[in-house]
């Protein structure tokens, strides 16, 4: 009996002689925000890419809702409820904000091999899209093409698009990267709201955000998890301070 939404068992990924993921095991339980921190080059992105299916691990297994998805493709994992945001925003740049969200809603609604309907007349699709947009900061920017958005707006849209897919689990790859102080704060507020309904695996450099959101923190260094525990435990852990927090403080 695991009950975990996401379970990673002894994952290993090698690039030539380099071990990018070194026997990583972790899990995300319902209601949890599991933050994954670590210095640059610790292998966070490599791990995320294996979890979402873009990279195939050399050893180990990934379970989504108890189901083994180690060999499943990206779309198959998405169908099982995995959602993600990208570190470097990855959107449909020629389309508008509204169209980007609609594309996610459309993916969930299905019937997308129809060649004889008119997408503009799918009422349920647009009603839901507008509902998702309403009340967000992007509401007034609905018809702006993504190429015309600011970096902060693109980050918000990344999150909205991922949420539009109604995931059971969210993988967030540095949602704060490149945001200003005010924007970061807004993002923390929205993420806290999302976290009430959706468990998350949060990869983040911004320690303020991590401490504000996480219910559990794992520290990844050189592809290995060196510590895992509650926010207080990690804060107090001397090894973590040495390997990561101390160095980071000096950098900042």
């Amino acid at each position: 009996m695991t009950g975990a939404v996401l379970e990673v068992k002894c994952l290993v990924k090698r690039f030539g002689g380099l071990i990018a993921t070194d026997h990583v095991s972790l899990e995300v339980r319902p209601g949890e925000v599991h933050a994954l921190i670590g210095p640059n080059g610790a292998g966070k992105s490599t791990l995320i890419n294996q979890l979402c299916g873009e990279l195939v691990p050399d050893e180990g297994a990934v379970f989504l809702g108890g189901q083994d998805v180690t060999a499943a493709s990206v779309p198959d994992r998405v169908a099982l409820g995995l959602g993600r945001t990208f570190q470097i925003t990855n959107l449909l740049t020629e389309m508008s904000v509204r169209d980007n969200i609609a594309m996610a809603v459309q993916a969930r609604m299905g019937r997308n091999f129809r060649i004889w309907d008119a997408v503009a007349r799918r009422r349920a699709l647009w009603a839901e899209t507008d509902g998702l947009l309403a009340g967000t900061a992007l509401d007034t920017r609905a018809h702006v093409p993504v190429a015309g958005l600011s970096h902060g707006e693109k980050k918000q849209l990344e999150l909205l698009v991922a949420l539009a897919r109604k995931p059971q689990l969210l993988l967030l790859d540095e949602p704060m990267a490149g945001l200003g102080a005010a924007e970061s704060h807004e993002m923390i507020v929205s993420l806290r709201q999302v976290a009430q309904a959706t468990p998350m695996l949060l990869v983040e450099h911004d320690m303020e955000a991590v401490f504000a959101l996480a219910t559990r923190i794992s520290v990844l260094v050189y592809g290995r998890i060196i510590a895992s525990g509650s926010v207080e435990e990690i804060r107090a852990n001397p090894e973590v301070r040495e390997a990561y927090l101390g160095a980071e403080d000096e950098l900042c």
């Binding site: 979402c52 990206v74 998405v78 169908a79 389309m95 997308n112 060649i115």
Partner: protein, 331 residues
């Protein structure tokens, strides 16, 4: 920036002018220019089909001559067996009915696109271009060595297929029949482009990784688009075989694939009307330049270069920019 209403009105007026002009062509055209316009209509079906995968789907196929040529050969082979009163492959009766041969050509080219697409879409980028080219060349050499159907000489279709009892030997009647097929095809394509599937396909071209992360499996969507595109090119080939009363390996040659791609690029990749303008410009230039000089391809190449570099988006983008300029000029 003109309002959407104004743009809609302009679009409707433009469409009405185009329809009237196309209907009136036989009244003004002599027989050689009527034949030129007919060829533009037929080729633009193939160019628009290629644009569906190339411009909307982002798949650069250099093998669309295979589908175009197969469409022509289906018409040719069915005609031969109809004339001989022998069954094709021992069990398929021949036919000279347009309403039989054209759907047959569309189905066969769709099946061929399914096979070629299923294999080539496992690759991407330059490999995809090369593999589609390689398949098309295989089909080309197959028909060159197929002596039962004329080999290098191809098949002469002595009579254009029969259609609703019309006199298909009359060039004007034939023009209107082709115009009818063209209009039906373009309306259908318009629907497909704006359908749920068409929207997903456009997303695929912009960002395949994002689409996969939303749960769309790229391979299946791209393969479906490739099959639809192959069917369109097959339709074009079947109409061409009826118009020329001839199906030959020429239709399958890789230069035909390149010509279709040139038409698309000249007109504007990924725009609905672009391939039509591109086909018209290509064929008019070809006809005119070939009458001036033996080295017409050199000049065509230079003009293509100028249009592509000068308009950044082909004739369609050039016209849109011109229209915007005029609007602004008027205040």
């Amino acid at each position: 920036m003109p309002s959407p209403d104004a743009r809609n009105l302009a679009r409707r007026i433009g469409l009405a002018v185009l329809v009237v002009a196309l209907l009136a062509v036989p009244m003004f055209a002599d027989s050689s220019s009527l034949s030129l316009v007919t060829r533009i209509l037929i080729y633009s079906i193939a160019a628009a089909s290629l644009n569906f995968v190339l411009g909307y789907g982002g798949m650069i196929s250099l093998g669309h001559a295979a589908f175009f040529g197969i469409g022509g050969y289906v018409v040719g082979m069915l005609f031969v067996h109809h004339a001989d009163a022998t069954p094709l492959m021992g069990f398929i009766p021949g036919s000279n009915q347009l309403l039989v041969t054209v759907p047959a050509a569309v189905v066969v080219s769709g099946l061929l696109a399914l096979i070629i697409g299923a294999l080539s879409l496992r690759t991407g980028g330059v490999q995809f271009i090369m593999i589609t080219l390689a398949f098309a060349q295989m089909i080309f050499f197959f028909f060159v060595s197929l002596k039962a159907y004329g080999g290098e000489d191809g098949i002469i279709v002595r009579r254009t297929n029969e259609f609703l009892g019309l006199n298909m030997r009359d060039r004007v009647t034939l023009y209107y029949v082709m115009l009818g097929f063209w209009a039906v095809f373009m309306l259908a394509l318009w629907r497909v482009v704006h359908s749920s599937f068409g929207t997903v396909l456009r997303g695929m071209k912009q960002n395949e990784r994002r689409m996969a992360a939303l749960g769309y499996a790229p391979y299946r969507y791209k393969l479906y688009a490739f099959v639809l595109s192959g069917m369109g090119a097959g339709l074009s080939g079947a109409l061409m075989a009826n118009f020329l009363r001839f199906a030959s390996p020429d239709m399958l040659h890789w230069t035909k694939s390149a010509a279709l791609m040139t038409m698309v690029i000249l007109g504007g990749v990924g725009s609905f009307l672009g391939p039509i303008w591109g086909t018209a410009a290509y064929l008019v230039l070809e006809t005119w330049l070939a009458a001036q000089t033996e080295y017409w391809q050199l000049w065509l190449g230079l003009i293509l270069l100028a249009v592509v570099l000068g308009t950044r988006g082909g004739i369609n983008a050039g016209m849109a920019r011109l229209a915007a300029l005029m609007m602004r000029g008027r205040g």
